[in-house]
């Protein structure tokens, strides 16, 4: 089981960490949330999907709930995350282009739920079915929401 956690931390973990970095401010706060995700993954290692892609979706579901706890102030600062917290700003590569600014403006015009789905689909790139599972909504609801959000974003970009 230790080998499984190490494998997940190496092969899947950076993508989960990136998910958190994209959604926390300041970015080093992602270290504590990620520590919580890894702790839960370790505790639940028996039931983490054996396929890496499915494990990624599973860990994103955990990360999303940990992030919600963090935003409610329920995530405590953990000493074991100190090294990651200190190093994290140096490994982050922020977007740097006019297109990014346009996209961020368009994203900002979406409702929170639509924005969450759109960024999940286009940034972490799970399938719509996986995204629905991560967000705990039905697949048909995810498809409708995604279609609506795409239309709004295109309209929004056309006016920029």
């Amino acid at each position: 089981m230790s080998a499984r956690l190490d494998h997940l931390a190496t092969e899947v973990g950076p993508d989960v960490l990136a998910y958190l970095v994209r959604r926390t401010e300041p970015v080093d706060a992602a270290a504590d949330v990620y520590a919580q995700v890894l702790a839960i993954t370790w505790r639940k290692i028996r039931v983490v999907p054996t396929d890496d892609r499915e494990a990624f979706a599973w860990m994103l579901g955990v990360a999303r709930r940990c992030l919600a706890n963090h935003r409610r102030g329920a995530c405590r600062r953990r000493a074991l995350a100190d090294r990651l917290r200190e190093a994290l700003p140096s490994v982050v590569q922020p977007p740097d282009s006019d297109a990014a600014i346009d996209a961020q403006r368009a994203l900002a015009r979406l409702g929170a739920a639509d924005r969450e789905l759109v960024t999940l689909i286009y940034w972490e790139q799970p399938s719509t079915r996986e995204a629905a599972g991560i967000l705990n909504i039905s697949e048909s609801a995810a498809r409708k929401r995604l279609s609506r959000a795409r239309t709004r974003m295109r309209d929004s970009l056309a006016t920029v």
């Binding site: 839960i40 505790r43 028996r46 054996t50 709930r65 074991l80 994290l88 140096s90 490994v91």
Partner: protein, 222 residues
């Protein structure tokens, strides 16, 4: 996402990325720290823990008060915990509690007993004991027994042709476990059913793979 979807190129441009190689190192280091802090299966020191306790705490009153029952229950609404009680894995009464948490109807292959399972899962001293903080949830321990039994049947199916029929029945039964379903993060129940179906079809390769990948650490000391 389609080829003509302009968002496909635009939105990734707005994405913050991280440098993968150092992130892998940092993530591995954090995983090691997490593992050192707590264990997915509770392991405790029976003899060593009690010996230290006897030296450190004079009299019996403190020992009686130090119980595995914390009175703290998981809150599924706030995290991935289930609602069962958190147990102190270093407490002297933890071994007895572990036995009580073994499923009453747990069927095991010939020559394997619940004692074998307890010894294999919890027989090694936990390096974290007797320091406080080693915790495990009660339902997780019951699930440990089921997972262990499942692996015992996988090995029995592979090693003992006379137990194959029984192994198929038990692998199917354990795949249908309500507890496993309740803790399934995605695909675990389906995978258990796949292995049971392979066993029923006399398809050795998936069962062998299961033994090597998910059941490699199960020691069957008979």
């Amino acid at each position: 996402m389609t080829e003509h979807d302009p968002l496909t190129t635009l939105l990734p441009a707005a994405r913050t990325d991280i440098d993968t190689v150092p992130a892998q190192d940092l993530s591995r280091g954090l995983a090691a720290a997490v593992r050192a802090e707590s264990r997915p299966r509770a392991r405790r020191a029976v003899v060593a823990g009690l010996a230290v306790l006897a030296v450190a705490v004079p009299g019996t009153a403190a020992a009686v008060q130090w119980t595995t029952h914390t009175g703290v229950f998981g809150n599924p609404a706030l995290s991935e915990e289930d609602a069962s009680e958190w147990l102190d894995v270093c407490a002297p009464d933890f071994p007895a509690t572990v036995r009580r948490l073994s499923p009453r109807d747990l069927a095991l292959p010939r020559g394997v007993t619940v004692d074998t399972a307890v010894q294999d899962m919890y027989g090694e001293p936990d390096p974290a004991c007797p320091e406080p903080g080693g915790r495990a949830q009660a339902d997780g321990i019951t699930l440990d027994f089921e997972s262990w039994a499942r692996c015992a049947w996988v090995h029995a199916w592979l090693d003992d042709p006379t137990q194959r029929s029984a192994a198929v029945v038990q692998l199917t039964r354990l795949a249908d476990s309500p507890l496993l379903a309740a803790h399934d993060g995605g695909g675990t129940v389906a995978h258990a059913h796949d292995v049971a179906a392979a066993a029923a079809d006399d398809d050795r390769a998936p069962v062998q793979r299961e033994a090597e990948i998910n059941c490699a650490q199960v020691g069957l000391r008979r």
